[in-house]
């Protein structure tokens, strides 16, 4: 059984290999993805992420354990990547018209994920105004939560694919095909996986008119970056795969030292049509 729903701004496919899976397993897996969207969506002014952006500089904000876990992982990857991964770039995407504006941006000098402190397990506050965007990590986390929901329902084998970020479990080896960055409608079989996750970063679906900016920002120099190849990262959990693709594509280094810390590996697919 395989189902697909529009969530997280993309298409989320959830597949169960079992012959007669519990009926509610798929529903609960989709609900987990919806919950992540509800908590961590930048577009929704009432999400916990928007509340953190609006208030954590002024007062402590109590958050859901899932939001807290994503923020903790984001801080860990920030540290391990020496700042190449940082969710504190939302204001650049708002200025470029790529994310909606909630209230005024003022002339704040915004901090980054390093300025956010988890003062208790589920309580955060920030020492600087923040404009965090979890777009580079929450999708992978949602995939992991969907897999957890399937496992909790006794599902033996399956997979979750959120717009190209994939996690597979249950032992049956499955071929993994990645879009060719030169021709995104053609696929390249890059390997097979029976357990693990893979996520990919590229800009070929950005549908941009010339002159508009890319949705990827390098936190170290705050510039929008351009590249025509694609970078995939294979890891145990999709949250790591998703976030680490940003480290690899921003640094353009498939051997970035932080990959081994997370037992991950990176794959670069060149764009054969670019000069």
């Amino acid at each position: 059984m395989i189902r697909c729903k529009p969530l997280l701004g993309t298409f989320v496919e959830i597949r169960i290999e079992d012959q007669s899976p519990p009926l509610k397993a798929l529903d609960e897996a989709f609900l987990a993805v919806e919950q992540v969207q509800f908590l961590m969506c930048f577009h929704n002014p009432n999400s916990e992420l928007s509340q953190i952006n609006a208030r954590s500089y002024l007062e402590p904000v109590r958050i859901h354990p899932w939001t807290a876990e994503v923020l903790r992982i984001a801080k860990e990857i920030y540290l391990q990547s020496q700042g190449v991964f940082n969710c504190g770039v939302g204001h650049h995407l708002v200025e470029a018209g790529l994310l909606p504006k909630h209230g005024k941006l003022n002339n704040y000098s915004f901090g980054g994920i390093e300025d956010l402190q988890l003062i208790e397990h589920f309580l955060v506050r920030s020492s600087l105004p923040l404009c965090l965007d979890l777009g580079g990590i929450a999708k992978g986390y949602a995939v992991d939560k969907a897999v957890e929901a399937l496992l909790a329902n006794g599902v033996q084998a399956g997979s979750v694919n959120a717009g190209g970020d994939i996690r597979i479990f249950g032992g049956r080896s499955q071929a993994i095909q990645i879009r060719n960055p030169s021709k995104p409608h053609e696929l390249i079989q890059i390997g097979s996986m029976s357990a693990g996750a893979i996520a990919t970063s590229s800009l070929y679906f950005a549908n941009r008119s010339s002159g508009s900016k890319s949705f990827m920002v390098n936190p170290l120099n705050q510039g929008h970056i351009e590249f025509s190849e694609s970078y995939s990262v294979v890891a145990t959990r999709c949250v790591y795969a998703d976030a680490l693709t940003k480290v690899v594509s921003i640094s353009r280094n498939t051997r970035h030292p932080c990959l081994s810390h997370f037992s991950a590996q990176a794959i670069r697919i060149p764009n054969t049509q670019s000069p």
Binding site: P6, Q177, M193, A195, L203
Partner: protein, 184 residues
Amino acid sequence: MNWKPHPLFIIGLAMTSAPIIAQAKIYVSVEQAQKILLPNKSLAKNPMIITEDLQDKMRSASSIRHPFQGDQIWRAADGSWFIVDEVVGKHEMITYAVALNPSGAVTGIEILEYVESYGYEVAEANWRKQFVGKTAVDPIKLNQDIQNIGGATLSCKHLTDGVKRVAVLYEIALKNQTLSLKAK
């Protein structure tokens, strides 16, 4: 983690072998989607003729030019609705179902089919015909297994536009039917 890189890819040959084209994915049938989105409700088919005027209003609300077909509309006894629609983009054709509660709020969306190819093929009526009437139990010529396709994230904006036009359909055409049924 259990990951095996493709040996040809490692030495750069997978790039030169014949390309695999992303084609058609069939997820669930109309009947399955009805059970998923409106469980335990018996549905009566309620096709409608879409007037030019309504078609125009749906078009301007959604920016989808492809006309809405009024033949796949169902109504539940409690006034809920189940509508199947299709959006055709430059690179994709998506058939989806949307369920509305009696007051017109979207209670669920399910993708039935996702067909991806080059723009000119999707636009070509004959090419599209081969998929008409195919269901999940009829995988002829389509992929037996749904592929695990990785890559940059595809936006679902086009589908979101489709749902906007269904909302207009409710406001202009379905709402009155719900009200007149209640009046009886």
